[in-house]
């Protein structure tokens, strides 16, 4: 076995049928599994112009080649579909345990098409797939539904099934809805949960135990042991943590020379939210819906009041996703926090994105409110990043008289008003009043509201950006723009590129500016374009392997993806050849968007994200990214038309894509 099963499960909910499809070796050799396999299927099987919420849309649950082979930090699963929020290819990526669930049922991907007449869920085990009535599950939140499905399908002596499930946000077909597993790990972005809801599909339950292996199992395990032992070297002694976060205050500038391995220090101790002091002190965390600065609007005292230390006070245990040796997650007991009108108790620790979004971004220093909102959104199955962007936009619309107090349900919706923010989040999730408009995201809301509200709808290509200020990182700004799934911080950026050390293995990847002046990063040069493309291709490769972004930033020496893939598949490809696969996946996704009429410039980041009108104070003062020039240069270097972002025919030929883009009929049904 080469890590992949060679099979996908296709379920047609309209017909109530499922069948197994054998996938040609060539597809894996060209596109790996995961994001590549999903993009290939969606390109070939979703008709041009299809309504994302129609039965024509495909919903793909997929995982990577390395998952279940013995490699570590390789437990990601992805949901790939046509996105209602962007109109292009949608892709949300998640940890937890569902990735292994797909594989152990004997599949690399589960594809759902059509629409069920009434709510259903899928139960998949070694014998095949059953479409089951979702009565008693539909209407439950993600946590309740998962518990109920565990209860229904657990048996003495048999391992509990894994479940991917939507909450009420997905059932209502919100464009910000995601798909959850493990009681709140969410594939949040691009509205993939809304698509699932449009198919009347509540959940996918995987309960198989088929074995998975790679060609050279011992080599895979040996490499995994190396990675795990290095990570263990990077942890802090237990007596150290208090106060460490504050050391960022003494750092002069965002000029770093990180060893990616040592990101484990931060992640292992605090989780991703440990970044908050850093992002606050350096200006990397956007403030006041990207319109303000920490210096003006959020004091150091407020930063301290809402940082990751405050979360650790509630932590009862660490949490590890499947196959992870890193453990950035944690479980908190929030039963005694304020605002907890739902009686939540043990919950997942908020990620940095949620933590920053519902504190500094909205000028809220009530940490309990953030903890409550994070869990509420997980249970509703709604994307915290996009929802926070909607709240920020709504506050500014009220502030500027575009929306009245009555428009927002009589709330005193102002910066930092925790009670009003909580209530407005509920309005969005429940689609009450103007919450229904915002449940479609900021771009849609701006179209409906009008009156110049698009100034406050901070998004790129229909996707609200994460909590990383691209004005300070032109590479990241460019990646926000050139990625076919736009506004995606996990594609990389200058800081992350510095961690990855790709230049040590990939012949054409330029060395990062490890020390000294980084002003060259704001120039639309070939060197900067190559760095951007290295991030973009590498991320696609990781997504084909089933890897995690936090593994990716450990660096290629510590997270040996190229070696793992060769060991699993028996191939003998070079890092350059693997990066070519990453480019092929990226370009296929670009072609999906073009096929559906979503042209590349649509993903240009919002003016605020690139400082078209620069700030005058704070860390982002006078920072303007020459985004148009940088996107054009990046496209040119990639072999795309620099004016339009459309891949050149010669590039498609070099990548062997024309043959892969005409394979709708070339499927082999085996069961």
């Amino acid at each position: 076995m080469k890590g992949y099963t060679g099979k996908i499960l296709e379920v047609d909910l309209t017909k109530g049928e499922s069948r197994t499809i054998q996938i040609k070796e060539e597809i894996y050799e060209k596109l790996l599994s995961g994001a590549g396999l999903g993009a290939w299927w969606c390109y070939n099987h979703i008709p041009a112009g299809a309504d994302p919420m129609s039965p024509e849309n495909c919903l793909c649950f997929t995982t990577g080649i390395m998952t279940c082979t013995g490699a570590t930090i390789m437990g990601r699963w992805m949901v790939i579909t046509k996105s209602p929020s962007t109109g292009g290819i949608g892709e949300a990526n998640c940890g937890g345990s569902f990735a292994a669930g797909i594989k152990h049922c004997g599949f690399d991907m589960i594809v759902v098409t059509g629409k069920a007449e009434k709510p259903v869920y899928l139960y998949i085990d070694n014998k095949g797939c059953q479409i089951k009535d979702a009565e008693g599950v539909w209407g439950l939140d993600t946590h309740e539904a998962e518990e109920e499905l565990w209860r229904r399908h657990s048996a003495p002596g048999k391992k509990r099934p894994v479940v991917a499930v939507i909450g009420p946000g997905g059932e209502k077909q919100g464009w910000m809805a995601g798909v959850c597993n493990e009681n709140g790990r969410i594939a949040a972005r691009q509205g993939v949960g809304g698509v699932m809801g449009s198919k009347n599909l509540k959940a996918v339950v995987c309960h198989g135990n088929k074995p998975i292996s790679g060609v050279h199992t011992e080599e895979i395990k040996s490499l995994a042991k190396m990675t795990a032992s290095r990570i263990n070297m990077a942890f802090l002694p237990p007596e150290i943590p208090t106060g460490l976060l504050n050391i960022t205050k003494i750092l002069p500038e965002l000029q770093l020379s990180p060893d990616g391995l040592l990101t484990a220090v931060l992640m292992g101790t605090w989780g991703t939210a440990g970044a908050s002091q850093f992002t606050g002190q350096t200006g990397e965390g956007p403030i006041r819906n990207w319109g303000g600065t920490q210096k003006e609007h959020f004091t150091v005292r407020q930063l301290n009041k809402t940082d990751a230390h405050q979360m650790l006070k509630h932590q009862v245990s660490r949490y590890y996703c499947y196959s992870c040796s890193y453990g950035c997650g944690g479980e908190l007991d929030i039963s005694k926090i304020k605002h907890n009108d739902q009686g939540y108790s043990i919950v997942h620790k908020p990620e940095y994105e949620s933590q920053w979004d519902y504190t500094a971004f909205l000028l809220n220093d009530d940490n309990d409110a953030m903890l409550f909102i994070n869990e509420y959104l997980n249970r509703q199955g709604v994307d915290a990043i996009s929802c926070g962007g909607c709240v920020g936009m709504a506050i500014e619309c009220v502030e500027h008289g575009i929306l009245t107090k009555e428009d927002v349900g009589g709330l005193d919706l102002t910066w930092g008003n925790a009670e009003a923010i909580i209530e407005f989040v509920k309005m969005i999730c429940e689609q009450r009043g103007i919450g229904e408009v915002f449940s479609h995201g900021t771009r849609y809301a701006a179209k409906v509201i009008g009156k110049g509200s698009d100034e406050f709808a901070v998004q790129g290509g229909g996707m609200e950006p994460p909590m990383h200020d691209s004005r300070l990182d032109p590479q990241q700004a460019t990646l926000y723009g050139i990625d076919p799934t736009p506004s995606r911080h996990t594609s990389g950026g200058s800081l992350y590129y510095g961690c990855m050390h790709l230049w040590k293995k990939v012949s054409w990847a330029p060395a990062a500016a490890i020390v000294g002046d980084k002003s060259g990063e704001s120039i639309a040069s070939e060197e900067e374009a190559l760095k951007v493309l290295a991030c973009a291709y590498y991320k696609r490769l990781i997504d084909g392997a089933g890897g995690c972004y936090f593994g990716m930033i450990l660096g290629v020496g510590n997270y040996p993806v190229f070696e793992w893939l060769n060991a699993a598949t028996g191939w003998e490809l070079s890092p350059d050849e693997y990066m070519e696969i990453g480019k092929r996946i990226l370009t296929l996704r670009q072609m999906f968007n073009i096929k559906h009429g979503k042209m590349p410039w649509d993903n240009r980041p919002h003016d605020r994200m690139v400082g078209d009108t620069p700030h005058t104070v704070g860390k982002t003062a006078h920072k303007t990214v020459p985004i148009d020039a940088m996107m054009k240069k990046t496209w040119e270097v990639a072999g795309y038309d620099p004016e339009t972002g459309v891949p050149l025919d010669s590039t498609l030929e070099e990548l062997g894509l024309p043959a892969l883009m005409n394979m709708a009929e070339e499927v082999s049904y085996v069961g």
Partner: protein, 77 residues
Amino acid sequence: MRIEFHGPSICDFSNFEKDGTIEVQDGLTLKQFLKIVKLPMLWAKTLPLLVNYEKVPMDTVLKDGDIVSSYTPLGSG
């Protein structure tokens, strides 16, 4: 000998090459090297400090090509 160093921006990088390496005299111990790059000893002793991804004593003699890594705060997530 040439040492690759990854450390926080409070260090002195003035004598480093663009690739993050620095030429130093043979036979330096880790402690002596850290003095050259001006990494505060409190930082070095408190936070993770690795040589070739291993924890080693301060009196370890460095050799050509070694990678010295000190914790650097950053953001992600």
